[in-house]
Amino acid sequence: MEELHQLIGRICLDHDNDEDGLWRTLTETGLDRAGIPERFGGTGGDPADALAVAAALAEHGAATPVADQSVLAGWLAARAGIRLPAGLVVVAGDADLRSENGRIHGTARRVPWASRAGHLLVPVATAPDRTAVALVRVEQVRVRPGRNLADEPRDDVEFVAVVPDESRTVAAPAHDILLHRAALVRAVQIAGSLRAVLRMTLRYSTERVQFGRRLSQLDVVRQQVALMAGEVAATSAAVGAAIDQLLLADDTGATRFAVAAAKVQAGTAATAVARAAHQVHGAIGVTREYPLHRHTRRLWAWRDESGGEEFWARRLSALVHGADRPLWETLVG
């Protein structure tokens, strides 16, 4: 993992502020499809590998759709038995989508990176526990570009009687599983980004001198950074535990609990750490030039994506209160 982290660090450094070049190198190295079995168009490995790539890219502040492809599209394709075509493939899911006589109608809102994709993988519920997974060329749909707070593409995709290139049915309510995976992806990315923010703030505080002392010598700053460290450590621990749980079993109550808790923790930490980091940095931190915003704007965006703290906290509550055992036993798992 340490080597992977360093490799990705080097790649990101080589392509600083060069999204296209970065994407090219990532596809050439196959890092964009880690964790996807080879027979489905990937480069092999398990979800933990794909998530490690996602975390490292986030930690290096890279703008890339890698995680959305490798962890989400890759998993859905494998689950449905579809081989991913070349180019970028992302999932376009939305409760608004429906299938009529094999044609897809409706609008998927705020689809990550749709405007950059060649193909979309489209899950459409056909029955309460059956999902059709369709592969659609991006030329077949209308994409209205949008963006999140970090200027990453979040595009509305309109389907009008689209006949997919390929469609396979999965015997599961795919939306729900995807939702948990998507939340875990964002939590993992947040964890990576938080680590970068902490490093950056620590470095700044030990270099910046004000009123004749380094910021890192001021007790008030020390307290703030220590609080940040707590949130960062907690998020890393939460995400690590959720991944361990996912590797153990894809879709149990314990996995759902762990993913939900990890996303709540990640969102909570994103808010607190971004605020403290800006407070310690002062004015320099809000400039376009200084790299802090590459992370804090993503933290502000990612905490809301795939369900914010409130959404997942309510799910946790429902898991606890829907279980036939005491709170404590559900918590312990």
């Binding site: 705020r110 949008g146 963006r147 999140n148 707070l149 979040r154 910046r208 001198v209 004000q210 009123f211 008030v220 808010t271 605020r275 800006h278 407070q279 002062g282 004015a283 931190g285 809000v286 400039t287 376009r288 030039e289 802090l292 915003h293 804090t296 704007r297 502000w300 965006a301 809301d304 994506e305 914010g308 703290e309 409130e310 959404f311």
Partner: protein
Amino acid sequence: MTTPLDELWRPVAPPDEQEAAAIRAERVRVREFLAGSLDRGLFAPRCDSWLGGFSPEFSKALAVRGWIGMTWPRRYGGRAASNLLRQAVVEELLAAGAPVAAHWFADRQVGPGLLRYGSEEQRDRLLPAMARGELYVAIGMSEPDSGSDLASVRTRARQVAGGWRVTGTKVWTSHAHRSHLMLTLVRTAAPDPGSRHAGFSQLLVDLSAPGVTVNPIPYLDGGHHFNEVVLDDVFVSDGMVVGTPGQGWTQVTAELAHERSGPERYLSTFPLLERMSAALAGGGDEVGGVLGRAYARLWVLRQMSTGVARSIDAGTASSLVTALVKDMGTRLENEIVDEARRWRPSAPAPDAPDGYDRLLAQAQLHAPGFTLRGGTSEILRGLVARAIGMR
């Protein structure tokens, strides 16, 4: 036994009925003007409009109605109104998210600074243009390595025939690229190790003068309001020195202390709160409780802030209370952002089709500044601690 603490809870007499009625009437005038402006599409309500909403047209329209420089004497274009009345007008404008950035610094601090320290000639020449909403003034305090520590300012002014030659760099200067003058803190004497605060002066620099370069400092979202202003041997005539050379530190400190507790310290995110209030009103008792807490806090801060305005009118203003209002107000501004996110699934984006999401995006992207500008929260609390006698 009186202690410094008593300043924290010294009662301020409420305005008498006549003044209260005048304030109510003025509020109604402002509201009618704002409603008309909105109808005619003259502005879109936005968060943090005193920094982000720059509109010379709007400023001039306000000036015509007597809402710029309103506390200044009539002979300088003002209305000799009370600070309490100005406070009411500013509240109305900020609560509506109206674009008031163009004249903001001239109205809030440069004009009052000239009234306190400026020469008669300066007042005669500059204040009426400011009050007409035509003359905009930026503030040049911070420097690349000074941050909150203004005593480390290094921009130097060296005396020459008829004036001063100024060299140095100011940063974080809001709207310098569309302002006419910059009230600039400079060193007019070499640093004195025995007295960190000696040797400073305030000059009004003409931003169109030779030797002035204004470079944008893009904000984190790419927006442009901050600037770096590079002064390369810029000539400033003696007539543009504000106050007494060498007294700059005292003047700046007074300026900062008095401008801390205005409504811009608790209303930057009010347009978001209003939107939230409308969107969530039917959302159940729990959400009602959340909104009610924000209303309560805002109401309390309004009491404190108007109390300060009344005490400024009475000549008994407390820099202790102003520091508290700013600290608490800017925390509330942040809390509103947090609650707005929490209680409605949102996808904030600057260009979101939904107004809630758009206001939330503005508020979040500007939020880091709330607790930094005008003295960081930590510095303010340090001032409070000292003022109440912690040694």
